[in-house]
């Protein structure tokens, strides 16, 4: 097997996996926020990512470096998330979570086709002009654009975490996540908190999207993998476990890359899902012994 013949490939796979995983982790973090605070599973997550990618792509088309697009994507998606909350999401926040799944599903297919109409249906990418670095005597290759996405993703995540810990809004969000009623009683405007949380989630996705268009390619119908993976990461890590979410994101990336080498690329997504199912069932079984279940 190639992993044994060329041992450096193991390290290469892990590095590649971490770099791709950082983007997943970022999106997962946003998903965990929306889910933990508002009990909303945002099916439109992937579409936010792709939209963020298109905003950066537009910046790139105008002649600027796509890196300038990153803060723009962040800001644009923040505003869009806020608007979507005010228009649609706030009506489903207090209801059964399943209702919010369907509502965000409806939003996702609308955004998909609107993007197709506005931006066209070609596959697009943005070039950064960054090069490549070689390590260990040319045995390890690192594309600089991937590395910088990794750095930006990590910085973005840390930035949001810092914001959560220190700012007034951040504390209000965390309080609402722990106990909405108590927060309300203590004077926190939960509606505002929810709106900002959803907006921050969208903004995070926008940032991730700008990294995606630089590192890979985008297309109006390519959002679903991001949605699905961010679900999975949040579930595997457990809600509320932010460091866990980030670690799982990175771990998932590495796992995917390694299994692509070991088992062949066609089984990639199927194996990942199977892995998810196994973890879920295993955890439930453990809890079932104590007559409890996964909440």
């Amino acid at each position: 097997m190639i992993l044994i013949q060329a041992p450096f490939l193991n390290l290469q796979a892990i590095l590649d996996g971490l770099m791709i995983g950082a983007i997943f982790a970022l999106v997962a973090y946003g998903m965990a926020l929306a889910w933990g605070v508002m009990n909303i599973i945002n099916i439109a997550q992937g579409e936010f990512v792709i939209l963020g990618g298109y905003i950066t792509f537009m910046v790139y088309k105008l002649g600027f470096s796509p890196f300038f697009g990153a803060p723009l994507s962040f800001a644009f998606l923040f505003i869009l998330g806020f608007l979507l909350y005010k228009l649609i999401v706030h009506r489903v926040v207090d209801r059964d979570m399943f209702i919010s799944i369907l509502a965000t599903f409806g939003i996702s297919i609308m955004i998909r086709q609107i993007m197709n109409l506005i931006f066209g249906s070609q596959v697009e990418t943005a070039l950064t002009g960054l090069g490549t670095i070689f390590l260990f005597d040319h045995n390890i290759t690192i594309a600089l654009v991937k590395f910088s996405s990794f750095v930006i993703a990590v910085a973005g995540a840390l930035g949001v975490i810092y914001f959560m810990k220190t700012s007034k809004l951040g504390r209000a969000i965390r309080a609402t996540a722990q106990n909405p009623r108590a927060a309300r009683i203590l004077g926190v405007d939960t509606e505002k908190v929810y709106a900002y949380t959803y907006a921050i989630n969208a903004a995070i996705c926008g940032l991730a999207g700008s990294l995606v268009v630089m590192t890979y390619t985008i297309h109006p119908y390519m959002g679903l993998p991001y949605t699905v993976r961010s679900f999975m990461i949040v579930i595997v890590a457990g809600l509320g476990n932010i460091p866990g979410v980030l670690a799982s994101g990175l771990g998932l990336g590495a796992l995917e890359e390694l299994s692509a080498y070991a088992f062949g690329t066609e089984y990639r997504i199927g194996l990942v899902f199977l892995f998810l199912v196994i973890i879920l069932v295993y955890r439930s079984k453990k809890l079932a012994k104590r007559r409890e279940y996964l909440k």
Partner: protein, 403 residues
């Protein structure tokens, strides 16, 4: 009680209101062709090229005397539906076009997977379909009588690339990455046969996952194993991702061959990363074919660009050619009866800007060769077959360090 009756009647009314808007095959002086193309979904990019090709074909035929049947002149028109890049939907739409809209002549959809889904339907109803974008070999092995394809089948796409490699180096090693869909798998079949025939060795055989756009694992393996030829076939996404990641990782391979390079526009969008790649093409504007409607191949490209503001990929060209085939067939049959039209189509033997078109027993166009072009300095130049070549193949591809 009353409410139920009212609802029932309004439901019936709604249901039957659809049927009043049905189209027939010939309305007034218009011959209506039906088509389901991918206007949304993963094939939307190429689906749009297809639709534009059809529209340009219709326009040129109508502007140049239309179609003469039974002494009268008719104009062509196309009724479109969006199959959303979904085979099941396309099959349902074919049914709808035939049964509800009363259409008797179909134009093909984009993509092998979708054509394979629609073909059984048109065959079942005995409705001729001239398709321009479905290259899967399996379309021609089922004894379909009503299917006619103007393009070459998928298994011929990259054979000349393999042949070129064999001519340059004995016992070369090959790395392949194919998406798991009908078209790409057919290209693979053709390529594998050639590889075996030349005694070459396959060192990497990877599947490109349909949804994610990352080929890093495959390319890292390529770096480790250093094959002589790399083949990638994964529609536009595959071509674009492939070139981008080859550039990012500075992968050195003496020869790289792909499909869908021009619909992904790798010569322009990837900052020179696409240079030296060999690309399979059904047609190229530098070829010296010509006809009386579009002129030469380069005239077609100019016309297309003036209407749509971009260089036509071959998907658009072959779609336009389909309309020329229909016009000739209608006039040859001198009738609107679908079986007579079908028989007339079977007798097609014409030269177009797209190339010669002559259908075999199974509906395949065996008269036209596939071409291979190489991206040289951001321009697509035909390098094979030798007869049509406008530039010489650059081999081996210069290493990244030297570029």
């Amino acid at each position: 009680m009353k409410k139920i009756i009212v609802t029932f009647i309004s439901a019936l009314a709604l249901l039957f209101s659809y049927s009043t808007l049905s189209f027939a095959k010939v309305v007034g002086d218009k011959i209506i062709l039906g088509a389901a193309v991918s206007l949304t979904g993963k094939y939307a990019g190429s689906g749009k090229h297809t639709q534009k090709g059809y529209d340009l074909g219709v326009k040129i035929v109508n502007d140049n005397g239309g179609v003469k049947v039974g002494g009268k002149t008719y104009k062509l028109e196309v009724q479109y539906y969006d199959d959303e890049s979904d085979g099941a939907k396309a099959a349902a739409l074919a049914q709808r076009l035939i049964e509800q809209d009363g259409i008797d002549y179909l134009l093909g959809p984009y993509g092998s997977g979708i054509t394979v889904a629609m073909a059984p339907v048109s065959e079942k109803f005995g409705v001729p379909m001239v398709e321009a974008n479905g290259a899967a070999r399996s379309l021609f092995t089922k004894g379909y009588k009503y299917l006619f394809a103007v393009l070459n089948s998928a298994d011929q796409y990259l054979n000349s690339a393999v042949d070129l490699m064999a001519a340059k180096k004995k016992n070369a090693t090959v790395a392949m990455a194919f998406e798991q869909d009908a078209f790409s798998l057919d290209v693979k079949l053709g390529v594998e046969e050639r590889i075996k025939a030349h005694g070459m060795k396959v060192v990497i055989d990877d599947a490109l996952p349909k949804e994610l756009n990352d080929m890093t694992a495959t390319l890292q393996k390529v770096k480790a194993l250093k094959p002589d030829l790399l083949i990638v076939s994964g529609h536009d996404k595959g071509a674009m991702t492939g070139i981008k990641q080859i550039t990012d990782l500075k992968v050195d391979v003496p020869m790289v061959a792909m499909t869908h390079c021009d619909s992904a526009a790798i010569n322009k969008n990837l900052g020179g990363g696409g240079d030296y790649t060999l690309c399979a093409a059904q047609w190229h504007k530098s070829l010296s074919y010509k006809d009386e409607f579009f002129g030469s191949a380069s005239d077609y490209a100019k016309t297309f660009e003036s209407v749509y503001s971009y260089d036509p990929p071959y998907q658009a060209a072959e779609s336009s050619a389909a309309l020329l085939v229909y016009k000739a067939a209608f006039e040859r049959a001198n009738s609107f009866d679908k079986d007579k039209v079908r028989d007339a189509l079977a007798q097609t033997d014409m030269m177009t800007f797209y190339g010669p078109i002559k259908f075999s027993e199974t509906g395949q166009n065996l008269a036209k060769p596939m071409v291979l072009f190489q991206v040289i300095n951001g321009e697509n130049k035909v390098v094979a077959p030798e007869k049509w070549a406008e530039a010489k193949l650059i081999y081996p591809t210069p290493k990244w360090a030297d570029r």
